[in-house]
Subunit: 156 residues, 2 copies
DNA sequence: TCTAAAATCACCCGAAAGGATGACGACATC
DNA sequence: GATGTCGTCATCCTTTCGGGTGATTTTAGA
C-alpha cells in the first residue's frame, strides 16, 4: 500500500517535470494559468479518487467471512427471498471472500477484463482467483462454476 | 490507514519543499507557476482521496465470533417451482425452441463440444445457435447470456 | 515479532469461445 | 414456383479462458 504513495510521488514528479517542460514551450505563451491549474486539479482529483478507492477497498473486504448468523428460516419463505449465502459451505470448501466476490461477478456475465476494471486489480489476478475458485468447485468452465455456485447456495 | 495519509503528507511536503528549494535556487524567475501547479495538484489529490474515502465509507468492519450452528429448518418442501417459461418473451425476442434448448445446456455449464455430443449435432452448429441466441439476448459471453436468460424468465 | 494465509501480478501455452460469412436442405406458406 | 424460416455445417480469424508456474506483498493471528 505504501507503493501507491510512492507511485503517487513518482507520477506527481513526472507530471510536474513534464509540465515544467511543456510550460516553457507552449502554455506560458498564452498565460493560461487558470486552464493549466484546472487541468492539474482535475487530473489529480481523479487520481486521488482512484487512490482513495484503492486503499480503502481492502479495508471493507476485511474478514467479514465468519459472521454466521443463527437465522431461523421461516416455514413459509417470503417471496423476496433475501438469500442468505451458505457460509458454512463456503468454509468447508475453503473459498475465500475475495474468490466468492469474483464468482458473483462472473455469474453476472462479466468478462475477466471487466471484473478487473471493476474491482481495481489486474486481469491476471482475476484469472488467478477464477482458477482457484473453479478448482475448489470442481468446475472446468465459468458457466459450470456459476451453476455449481448456485446449487451450493453460494450465489443467489 | 492513518499511516498512509501521514506518509502521503510527508511525501507531499517533501515534494513541495524540494520544489520550493529548486525554485529559489534556479528558477527564480518571476513566475512560480510550477509551485502553483504542484500546490493545486496536491490539494486536489488530497481532495480526491478524501472524496474516495467518503463515498466508500459505509460500513465498518464487523467481527463476530464464529458460531456455526445448524438450525433445524421446519421441513418445508422447497416448492419445486414448476417454472413456466416465459414463452411470450421468447416470441418477442425471436428465439427459437432449438436456440433455447442450447441456451439451457449452456446454463448447465456444458461446453460447446459437450452440447454437440448431447444433442447429436456438430460443434459448429452449436456455435451457430449460440451466436444467434447471444445476439438476440444482447450478450457477448455465455455467462452473460445465461444471466439474461434468467432475468427474462427464459431459464429456471 | 514471526508465520501462514490471502491477495496480488506476471508469463507462457493450448484450448475454448466468439464474430463474420457463406452454403445447403427441409418445410411451410403464399 | 417463389419466398421465408429454421436447422445444419463449414471456414477463417480474433479474443477470451483456463492451466501451470513462480513470485512478491499484504494481512491476520499466534
Amino acid at each position: 500500500m505504501r507503493r501507491h504513495v510512492l507511485i503517487f510521488g513518482l507520477v506527481g514528479g513526472v507530471l510536474v517535470a513534464s509540465l515544467q517542460y511543456t510550460e516553457y514551450r507552449f502554455v506560458v505563451i498564452e498565460h493560461s494559468v487558470e486552464l493549466y491549474g484546472a487541468l492539474i486539479a482535475i487530473l489529480f482529483a481523479a487520481f486521488g479518487i482512484w487512490l482513495g478507492l484503492r486503499i480503502t477497498r481492502r479495508r471493507e473486504t476485511i474478514r467479514e467471512t465468519v459472521v454466521v448468523k443463527e437465522v431461523l428460516v421461516p416455514a413459509v419463505p417470503p417471496t423476496p427471498e433475501p438469500f442468505s449465502p451458505n457460509t458454512a459451505r463456503q468454509q468447508t470448501l475453503g473459498i475465500t471472500a475475495r474468490e466468492l466476490e469474483i464468482l458473483t461477478l462472473v455469474a453476472r456475465g462479466l468478462s475477466n477484463r471487466e471484473i478487473a476494471a471493476q474491482i481495481f486489480v489486474s486481469e491476471n489476478t482475476v484469472k488467478t482467483h477464477c482458477a482457484r475458485v473453479f478448482d475448489k468447485l470442481g468446475a472446468a468452465r465459468r458457466t459450470q462454476a456459476v451453476q455449481r455456485g448456485k446449487e451450493l447456495g453460494l450465489l443467489p
